[in-house]
Protein backbone atom coordinates (compact mmCIF):
# COMPACT_ATOMS: atom_id res chain seq x y z
CA UNK A 1 0.00 0.00 0.00
CA UNK A 2 1.20 3.48 -0.81
CA UNK A 3 1.93 5.90 2.00
CA UNK A 4 -1.58 7.28 1.73
CA UNK A 5 -4.41 4.77 1.31
CA UNK A 6 -7.40 5.60 -0.89
CA UNK A 7 -10.83 5.86 0.73
CA UNK A 8 -11.59 2.37 -0.47
CA UNK A 9 -8.40 1.00 1.12
CA UNK A 10 -9.07 3.03 4.25
CA UNK A 11 -12.50 1.41 4.67
CA UNK A 12 -10.83 -2.00 4.43
CA UNK A 13 -8.35 -1.01 7.13
CA UNK A 14 -11.05 0.55 9.31
CA UNK A 15 -13.14 -2.60 8.99
CA UNK A 16 -10.23 -4.88 9.81
CA UNK A 17 -9.28 -2.69 12.76
CA UNK A 18 -12.69 -3.57 14.22
CA UNK A 19 -11.56 -7.20 14.33
CA UNK A 20 -7.87 -7.22 15.17
CA UNK A 21 -4.88 -5.04 15.90
CA UNK A 22 -3.46 -3.79 12.63
CA UNK A 23 0.28 -3.83 11.95
CA UNK A 24 1.88 -0.50 12.83
CA UNK A 25 2.31 0.71 9.25
CA UNK A 26 -1.37 0.08 8.47
CA UNK A 27 -2.41 1.72 11.69
CA UNK A 28 -0.42 4.86 10.88
CA UNK A 29 -1.75 4.98 7.33
CA UNK A 30 -5.32 4.66 8.57
CA UNK A 31 -4.88 7.29 11.25
CA UNK A 32 -3.39 9.71 8.75
CA UNK A 33 -6.23 9.13 6.32
CA UNK A 34 -8.93 9.52 8.95
CA UNK A 35 -7.37 12.77 10.13
CA UNK A 36 -7.87 14.42 6.77
CA UNK A 37 -10.87 12.58 5.30
CA UNK A 38 -14.23 13.51 6.70
CA UNK A 39 -16.11 10.72 4.90
CA UNK A 40 -13.85 7.95 6.13
CA UNK A 41 -13.75 9.38 9.65
CA UNK A 42 -17.55 9.25 9.58
CA UNK A 43 -17.50 5.72 8.19
CA UNK A 44 -15.23 4.69 11.05
CA UNK A 45 -17.49 6.29 13.68
CA UNK A 46 -20.54 4.70 12.16
CA UNK A 47 -18.97 1.22 12.27
CA UNK A 48 -18.39 1.67 15.97
CA UNK A 49 -21.87 3.06 16.51
CA UNK A 50 -23.35 0.11 14.64
CA UNK A 51 -21.49 -2.35 16.85
CA UNK A 52 -22.61 -0.55 19.99
CA UNK A 53 -26.23 -0.70 18.86
CA UNK A 54 -26.04 -4.39 18.01
CA UNK A 55 -24.36 -5.37 21.25
CA UNK A 56 -26.44 -3.33 23.64
CA UNK A 57 -28.12 -5.37 26.29
CA UNK A 58 -31.45 -4.50 24.77
CA UNK A 59 -30.21 -6.81 22.03
CA UNK A 60 -33.34 -8.82 22.51
CA UNK A 61 -35.30 -5.84 21.24
CA UNK A 62 -38.50 -5.82 23.23
CA UNK A 63 -40.66 -4.57 20.34
CA UNK A 64 -39.57 -7.36 17.99
CA UNK A 65 -41.99 -10.21 17.49
CA UNK A 66 -41.68 -13.14 19.87
CA UNK A 67 -42.38 -16.81 19.28
CA UNK A 68 -45.36 -17.47 17.07
CA UNK A 69 -48.17 -19.35 18.86
CA UNK A 70 -47.79 -22.40 16.56
CA UNK A 71 -44.06 -22.54 17.21
CA UNK A 72 -44.67 -22.28 20.94
CA UNK A 73 -47.14 -25.17 20.79
CA UNK A 74 -44.74 -27.26 18.72
CA UNK A 75 -41.90 -26.68 21.18
CA UNK A 76 -44.26 -27.40 24.09
CA UNK A 77 -45.08 -30.78 22.51
CA UNK A 78 -41.39 -31.59 22.00
CA UNK A 79 -40.60 -30.74 25.60
CA UNK A 80 -43.46 -32.94 26.76
CA UNK A 81 -42.18 -35.83 24.67
CA UNK A 82 -38.70 -35.41 26.11
CA UNK A 83 -39.94 -35.16 29.68
CA UNK A 84 -42.19 -38.16 29.22
CA UNK A 85 -39.45 -40.37 27.80
Amino acid sequence: MKWMPTCRNATELASRAMDERLPLSNRMALRLHLAICENCARFNRQLQEMRRLFREETAANGDAAGLAPEARRRIETELQKKLGS
Binding site: T6, N39, L47, R74, L79
Partner: protein
Protein backbone atom coordinates in the same frame (compact mmCIF):
# COMPACT_ATOMS: atom_id res chain seq x y z
CA UNK B 1 -35.58 -28.79 40.30
CA UNK B 2 -38.83 -30.17 38.98
CA UNK B 3 -39.48 -31.38 35.50
CA UNK B 4 -42.08 -28.64 35.16
CA UNK B 5 -39.28 -26.14 34.80
CA UNK B 6 -38.90 -26.61 31.06
CA UNK B 7 -42.47 -25.39 30.56
CA UNK B 8 -41.81 -22.41 32.80
CA UNK B 9 -38.65 -21.63 30.85
CA UNK B 10 -40.58 -21.62 27.64
CA UNK B 11 -43.29 -19.44 29.09
CA UNK B 12 -40.94 -16.98 30.77
CA UNK B 13 -37.98 -16.86 28.41
CA UNK B 14 -39.22 -18.26 25.10
CA UNK B 15 -39.78 -14.85 23.51
CA UNK B 16 -36.47 -13.52 24.77
CA UNK B 17 -34.52 -16.53 23.48
CA UNK B 18 -36.35 -16.34 20.17
CA UNK B 19 -35.45 -12.66 19.68
CA UNK B 20 -31.81 -13.25 20.52
CA UNK B 21 -31.69 -16.17 18.08
CA UNK B 22 -33.72 -14.40 15.38
CA UNK B 23 -31.26 -11.54 15.39
CA UNK B 24 -28.34 -13.83 14.67
CA UNK B 25 -29.95 -16.41 12.44
CA UNK B 26 -32.05 -14.10 10.24
CA UNK B 27 -34.76 -16.69 9.92
CA UNK B 28 -37.87 -17.38 11.99
CA UNK B 29 -37.67 -21.13 11.45
CA UNK B 30 -34.02 -21.42 12.43
CA UNK B 31 -34.63 -19.25 15.47
CA UNK B 32 -37.53 -21.50 16.52
CA UNK B 33 -35.26 -24.53 16.10
CA UNK B 34 -32.64 -22.82 18.25
CA UNK B 35 -35.15 -22.21 21.05
CA UNK B 36 -36.39 -25.79 20.90
CA UNK B 37 -32.89 -27.28 20.90
CA UNK B 38 -31.89 -25.01 23.76
CA UNK B 39 -34.78 -26.09 25.96
CA UNK B 40 -34.27 -29.76 25.12
CA UNK B 41 -30.59 -29.43 25.98
CA UNK B 42 -31.53 -27.58 29.16
CA UNK B 43 -33.69 -30.50 30.29
CA UNK B 44 -30.69 -32.80 29.93
CA UNK B 45 -28.36 -30.35 31.60
CA UNK B 46 -30.59 -29.23 34.42
CA UNK B 47 -28.89 -31.47 36.95
CA UNK B 48 -25.75 -29.43 36.36
CA UNK B 49 -27.51 -26.09 36.72
CA UNK B 50 -26.41 -24.76 40.07
CA UNK B 51 -28.62 -21.72 40.21
CA UNK B 52 -25.65 -19.36 40.40
CA UNK B 53 -26.79 -17.62 37.26
CA UNK B 54 -30.40 -16.65 36.62
CA UNK B 55 -32.29 -19.15 34.45
CA UNK B 56 -32.30 -16.63 31.63
CA UNK B 57 -28.53 -16.20 31.71
CA UNK B 58 -28.05 -19.96 31.91
CA UNK B 59 -30.42 -20.60 29.00
CA UNK B 60 -28.84 -17.83 26.95
CA UNK B 61 -25.47 -19.52 27.43
CA UNK B 62 -26.85 -22.76 26.01
CA UNK B 63 -28.56 -20.85 23.21
CA UNK B 64 -25.25 -19.35 22.06
CA UNK B 65 -23.86 -22.81 21.37
CA UNK B 66 -27.02 -23.89 19.60
CA UNK B 67 -26.91 -20.79 17.39
CA UNK B 68 -23.34 -21.54 16.32
CA UNK B 69 -24.31 -25.18 15.65
CA UNK B 70 -27.24 -24.11 13.50
CA UNK B 71 -25.18 -21.56 11.59
CA UNK B 72 -22.48 -24.14 10.98
CA UNK B 73 -24.98 -26.67 9.65
CA UNK B 74 -26.73 -24.02 7.60
CA UNK B 75 -23.60 -22.52 6.10
CA UNK B 76 -22.54 -25.95 4.89
CA UNK B 77 -25.66 -25.99 2.81
CA UNK B 78 -25.09 -22.63 1.17
CA UNK B 79 -22.27 -21.91 -1.16
CA UNK B 80 -19.39 -19.80 0.10
CA UNK B 81 -19.48 -16.76 -2.17
CA UNK B 82 -16.83 -16.48 -4.80
CA UNK B 83 -14.46 -13.62 -4.36
CA UNK B 84 -16.13 -11.48 -6.97
CA UNK B 85 -19.55 -11.79 -5.30
CA UNK B 86 -20.56 -8.45 -3.95
CA UNK B 87 -17.57 -6.79 -5.50
CA UNK B 88 -19.74 -4.91 -7.95
CA UNK B 89 -21.79 -3.49 -5.10
CA UNK B 90 -18.58 -2.28 -3.48
CA UNK B 91 -17.35 -0.86 -6.79
CA UNK B 92 -20.48 1.24 -7.08
CA UNK B 93 -19.74 2.96 -3.77
CA UNK B 94 -16.34 4.21 -4.91
CA UNK B 95 -14.97 6.10 -7.88
CA UNK B 96 -12.23 4.62 -10.05
CA UNK B 97 -9.58 6.48 -8.09
CA UNK B 98 -10.76 4.95 -4.81
CA UNK B 99 -12.61 7.99 -3.46
CA UNK B 100 -16.17 7.72 -2.18
CA UNK B 101 -18.65 8.18 -5.03
CA UNK B 102 -21.06 10.04 -2.74
CA UNK B 103 -20.35 11.89 0.48
CA UNK B 104 -21.49 9.97 3.58
CA UNK B 105 -24.37 11.52 5.39
CA UNK B 106 -24.29 11.68 9.16
CA UNK B 107 -26.72 9.52 11.08
CA UNK B 108 -29.29 11.08 13.28
CA UNK B 109 -28.88 10.97 16.99
CA UNK B 110 -31.75 8.82 18.22
CA UNK B 111 -32.49 9.54 21.86
CA UNK B 112 -35.96 8.40 22.73
CA UNK B 113 -36.86 4.75 23.19
CA UNK B 114 -39.15 5.00 20.17
CA UNK B 115 -36.36 6.34 17.96
CA UNK B 116 -33.93 3.73 19.23
CA UNK B 117 -36.49 0.99 18.70
CA UNK B 118 -37.00 2.16 15.14
CA UNK B 119 -33.25 2.20 14.54
CA UNK B 120 -32.87 -1.36 15.88
CA UNK B 121 -35.65 -2.52 13.61
CA UNK B 122 -33.93 -1.01 10.59
CA UNK B 123 -30.62 -2.56 11.68
CA UNK B 124 -32.23 -5.99 11.83
CA UNK B 125 -33.98 -5.53 8.50
CA UNK B 126 -30.75 -4.46 6.83
CA UNK B 127 -28.89 -7.43 8.34
CA UNK B 128 -31.60 -9.76 7.04
CA UNK B 129 -30.91 -8.47 3.54
CA UNK B 130 -27.25 -9.44 3.54
CA UNK B 131 -26.30 -12.51 1.55
CA UNK B 132 -26.61 -15.59 3.79
CA UNK B 133 -22.95 -16.29 4.51
CA UNK B 134 -22.23 -12.61 4.88
CA UNK B 135 -25.12 -12.25 7.31
CA UNK B 136 -23.85 -15.16 9.40
CA UNK B 137 -20.29 -13.92 9.59
CA UNK B 138 -21.47 -10.38 10.34
CA UNK B 139 -23.85 -11.50 13.08
CA UNK B 140 -21.36 -13.79 14.76
CA UNK B 141 -18.92 -10.90 14.85
CA UNK B 142 -21.10 -7.86 15.55
CA UNK B 143 -24.02 -9.34 17.45
CA UNK B 144 -22.50 -12.34 19.20
CA UNK B 145 -19.05 -10.76 19.54
CA UNK B 146 -17.10 -13.85 18.50
CA UNK B 147 -13.46 -13.38 17.48
CA UNK B 148 -12.81 -13.61 13.73
CA UNK B 149 -10.37 -16.45 14.28
CA UNK B 150 -13.09 -18.47 15.98
CA UNK B 151 -15.60 -17.63 13.25
CA UNK B 152 -13.20 -18.77 10.53
CA UNK B 153 -12.66 -22.04 12.32
CA UNK B 154 -16.34 -22.65 13.00
CA UNK B 155 -17.42 -21.89 9.44
CA UNK B 156 -14.33 -23.30 7.83
CA UNK B 157 -13.46 -20.22 5.80
CA UNK B 158 -10.09 -18.51 5.38
CA UNK B 159 -9.27 -15.37 7.38
CA UNK B 160 -9.02 -13.39 4.14
CA UNK B 161 -12.47 -14.52 3.11
CA UNK B 162 -13.73 -13.55 6.55
CA UNK B 163 -12.30 -10.00 6.34
CA UNK B 164 -13.64 -9.51 2.84
CA UNK B 165 -17.11 -10.64 3.92
CA UNK B 166 -17.06 -8.40 6.99
CA UNK B 167 -15.85 -5.38 5.02
CA UNK B 168 -18.59 -5.82 2.42
CA UNK B 169 -21.23 -6.46 5.05
CA UNK B 170 -20.27 -3.31 6.91
CA UNK B 171 -20.29 -1.18 3.76
CA UNK B 172 -23.70 -2.57 2.87
CA UNK B 173 -25.12 -2.12 6.36
CA UNK B 174 -23.95 1.48 6.58
CA UNK B 175 -25.46 2.31 3.25
CA UNK B 176 -28.69 0.50 4.05
CA UNK B 177 -29.06 2.51 7.25
CA UNK B 178 -28.41 5.74 5.39
CA UNK B 179 -31.01 4.87 2.76
CA UNK B 180 -33.50 4.05 5.49
CA UNK B 181 -33.47 7.45 6.98
CA UNK B 182 -30.73 7.45 9.59
CA UNK B 183 -29.02 10.35 7.97
CA UNK B 184 -30.23 13.50 9.61
CA UNK B 185 -27.93 16.32 10.49
CA UNK B 186 -26.49 15.66 13.91
CA UNK B 187 -24.21 13.21 15.58
CA UNK B 188 -22.04 10.36 14.28
Amino acid sequence: MSSLDAHTWLADHGDYLFRVARRQLHSDELAEDAVQETLLAAIEAQARYTGDASPRTWLTGILKHKIVDLIRRNVREVEIPRDEDGEEAVDSLFKQDGHWAEPLRPWGNPQTEAELGQLRRVLDECADRLKPVMAQVFSLREVAGMETEEICKELNITPTNCWVLLHRARLFMRQCLELNGFSKAGAA
